[in-house]
Symmetry: C2
């Protein structure tokens, strides 16, 4: 299995603290040593850092922890391989274009019978069930909305129904973003927390690091973090109900 | 204008030396301060490091210079913006999927009338003439070869004719790779050099750095570097004739 980490914020915010917690699980406190990746959106553009090496040993992961890249939408993943060998082409997140936007996807779980999924114009490059599922999702969206849709929450409601289809094939926890929205879907486990004023302190579960968010924020900041398992011990994380999606935009929950 | 840098090699080789020369021109010895990017292929996968900041000041560019990522196919670019503002979505190289492969593209030059280019299923995300041209190229390839082609040199010969079409709209020097082949097309300027045994020493033009390739290679290594302008002063670079493409695979020239 794998672990997911996402962020949605109303001001460009760095994810160094949460990512530091996550990478410990990539070969340190957790078994997810088969690669890691993180995608940061900046306007319409995005950039991904990824490595098939364990995150705990990766000089690139160290850069991402130390160099605060600020973004309003982030998708990250650490991998414990099941479908598809340990290789760069099988390392999440995956990004593809739809409606002139970059869509980024990461998956936790395992699917059966995924090779029968019709992926249309989106051909998988690697061998993972995850990339197949992502290509199928985009192909269905492209079929349903040949032109750029206008009402976004209903698009994401449709994605929730597609995710439920995929869940029938196994375990399908996912994160998906177009740079504006960050959506999570829970098949078995997914948690989120929204931080806003008054900000407090938080302590990572996986490493002896404490952060005082008040030192790093302004009173108007709203920052939501989504993760497979809670990353901090002294805060209350919300659990997403299995079979449900959650949608965030600028840190606020849309559904 | 911009500068291009590409590599094709028969063994995974790092590009730290050449990239160190290139980044000096990104705000140091050259005016190409509007972003930079580099894509490394590893098997079917690829990863891109990019930044809209000047390469000379970029902590990420420093990582790429210091951390030897080894690859058989690399495409890199430093940008001096003309079409499209300085932003991540306008920062080269651009990567899109065709025939289940990652295709990566970088452009030097400037095109007129590029918004009339029909890009089919490949919708541009940013505002550059370059990304439009790339999307048009992929759409033409997808039209001509709806199924994965088998004879690759003829595909690249077709790309050469498409590049000549684009050249009619302005200046179109480019690099293009699918991870196996690295193609250059020269509209006004493009140079290349193939290094093989007996390896010698080389000195960067843009920074006081010398390398002894013999220390870093085995006798069977074949490494070709393609660049807008020669990067070293004591070696003979070949100039590509305007209106012509060059194609390399595993360091060797195919045409």
């Amino acid at each position: 299995m794998c672990e997911l980490l996402g962020m949605s914020a109303n001001v460009p915010t760095d994810i160094c603290f949460s990512f530091t917690g996550l990478v410990q699980r990539g070969g340190g406190t957790g078994p997810h040593k088969d690669g890691w990746g993180i995608t940061f959106y900046e306007g319409l553009g995005c950039r991904t850092f990824k490595d098939p090496m364990p995150s705990i040993d990766s000089p690139i992961a160290r850069l991402v922890q130390d160099y605060p890249i600020k973004s309003c939408a982030v998708v990250s993943h650490i991998r414990q391989a099941n479908r598809g060998r340990v290789a760069l082409e099988n390392t999440h997140p995956f990004t593809r274009e739809l409606w002139g936007r970059n869509w980024t996807f990461a998956h936790n779980g395992q699917l059966n019978g995924y090779r029968q999924l019709e992926t249309g114009i989106y051909r998988p490059i690697g061998q993972t069930d995850s990339e197949y599922a992502f290509c199928w999702l985009l192909a269905r969206l492209n079929d349903r909305y040949p032109k750029t849709p206008r009402h976004w929450p209903s698009v994401f409601r449709y994605i929730e129904t597609l995710a439920r289809e995929l869940q029938k094939k196994g375990i399908f926890n996912m994160l998906l973003s177009d740079g504006c929205f960050v959506m999570g879907y829970c098949s078995t486990e997914l948690h989120w927390i929204t931080r806003r004023a008054p900000f407090g302190k938080a302590t990572l579960l996986d490493r002896d690091v404490e952060i005082d968010f008040q030192q790093q924020t302004t009173p108007d900041d709203v920052v939501t973090v989504i993760a497979t398992q809670p990353l901090t011990g002294n805060e209350t994380w919300h659990q997403v109900e299995p079979g449900r999606g959650v949608l965030f935009r600028l840190g606020e929950r849309e559904f």
